[in-house]
């Protein structure tokens, strides 16, 4: 199951890159997110999975699609620079991914040692953490959202002229 979902995610990511049209990219990104949600479920993080789909899938990506529709964005045109940017970028990224993977894997081994996979009732536990240990960050994020709302409103409104 893991490999199915992982493959799905990777394919989605790749197609996000290869697709010319933003809305296709958006769709492939949605695929990635759903796959990730599946992975979360697999790891027993049900709540996070649900939130992942609701917020990412249901809100953020909808917003993207919405904006794409609104701006009626066409397929992107290639330019010499971007052609040029391809191979070296690929190299860089390969290196980056390799390093990240290797580094974390190295540490991951020790983590594995420390891991006792106990089934934790995630939702309740999460709620308790959020509202006990992380209550101030939580409040801060709510404030952040408020700011974001205001910012978006201000940005998107047309100047009355």
């Amino acid at each position: 199951m893991f490999f199915v979902l992982a493959a799905l995610a990777v394919i989605g990511a790749v197609s996000l890159i290869l697709q010319k049209h933003p809305i296709h990219s958006a769709l492939s990104l949605i695929v990635v997110m759903v796959a990730l949600a599946g992975l979360y479920l697999l790891m027993g993080a049900e709540f996070v999975a649900a939130v992942q789909i609701i917020v990412y899938g249901g809100a953020i990506m909808v917003l993207f699609v919405f904006v794409i529709m609104l701006l009626n964005a066409g397929a992107e045109e290639r330019t010499s620079l971007s052609k040029m940017a391809g191979p070296p970028g690929l190299l860089l990224v390969a290196a980056l991914a390799a390093f990240v993977a290797a580094t974390i894997a190295k540490s991951g081994a020790s983590v594995q040692a420390a891991a006792q996979t106990g089934a934790l009732s995630s939702t309740r536990g999460i709620s308790e953490m959020v509202f006990k240990d992380f209550v101030y960050p939580f409040e801060l994020t709510s404030f952040l959202i408020l700011v974001a709302i205001l910012g978006a409103t201000v940005l998107a409104q047309r100047e009355k002229s």
């Binding site: 049900e46 809100a59 699609v65 919405f66």
Partner: protein, 412 residues
Amino acid sequence: MHFLFATRDELFIAIAKIAVLLFIVLTVNAYLTWFERKVVAHIQSRWGPYRVGPHGLFQPLADGVKFFFKEDPTPSGVDRFVYYLAPLLALGLALTSIAIIPFGPEPLRLFGHDIYLGIAPPNLNIGILALFAITALGVYGVALAGWASNSKYPLLGGLRSSAQMVSYELTLTMSVVGVLLMAGSFNLRDIINAQAPLAGHPDRGMIAWNIWPQILGFFCFFTAAVAETNRVPFDLPEAEQELVAGFNTEYASFKFAMFFIAEYTSMITVSCLCTIMFFGGWLSPFPASWTLTHYLPSVILIPFGLWVILDGFRYETTLGRLVLPAVGTVITALGLVFIVFPQVNAFIQPPFWFISKVLLFLFVYVWMRGTLPRFRYDQLMAFGWKLLLPVSIMNVAITSFVILAKMQWGAK
């Protein structure tokens, strides 16, 4: 919760369940259309479908056939992939959401397996969340359809609907929070059981349902749900007068049918949700001590069946004189069966109540469509953001406060 099934049998059972549920849902869909047309017709003092089959009973079949064999043009300049994807998405998600609904409490023992009514496993801890997740994705069907068909009316329809859905989703979620707080769980079964009489407390029947404390929540929820399903009075995405048929203008025959079915399916889902959330799901409205009420199914079915039979005998067409009595006898027989075999009766109780409540809500849907005029778009948005959302949030605040107060001053 895990995806892999322990044994092959479970896999088979799951598949079987899915098949059965699909069949039921689709049939119900079909006859829902008939039901709707009939009711609306009578509201508008017409007869409604009457030609095809007795009382137009075969109308749905005819429609289905029509959908299959109609020409299916694909407009030029559409984004094919998305254009085909959209209806699939819509229908698929709509049907998936049904899968999470539980229809009855205890499992049915068949071939040495506990078969729960409902596809999702009973210990699905995030039931309601999953449901919301799926409905959230449901937006894409509409939006993409509107965008993909590369034509201005659908685009506008798609924009409208996605905006509308996203807006009302908030209310939908917030208004349920009150219920969740009272139940203390996302699991739909737990939510229903939370409305059941507690052990050692007097069974007070429907008094214990969430509808009473959560009346505000219910109001918000139902309204938002109607908006989510793009039904009257919130059916702007397909407002004929303004933009031909909204997002599905460019869709014909079967793909259109998909949207159609998806819409009705989501209607059913929402009705089920209302039932579960606020009306005690499969719980009987009467205290268990009123044993007589157990025979209500029969008491309703048998007279109805008899009436159908009589009506059938007096029907104009021969077909009618054949079909209606048959249907009537089947119904009557069912009723009799319930009386004769008490364990069957006992088993049938919860689903009976569940279904009857759902039917009630479906009727309300139709009723609204028959009576209410459509909103204007700005009205719609204002209504959603300025009235429903604040009210639902207020509801959450009040509920949580009351719960806290109970904890504090241990009121019973």
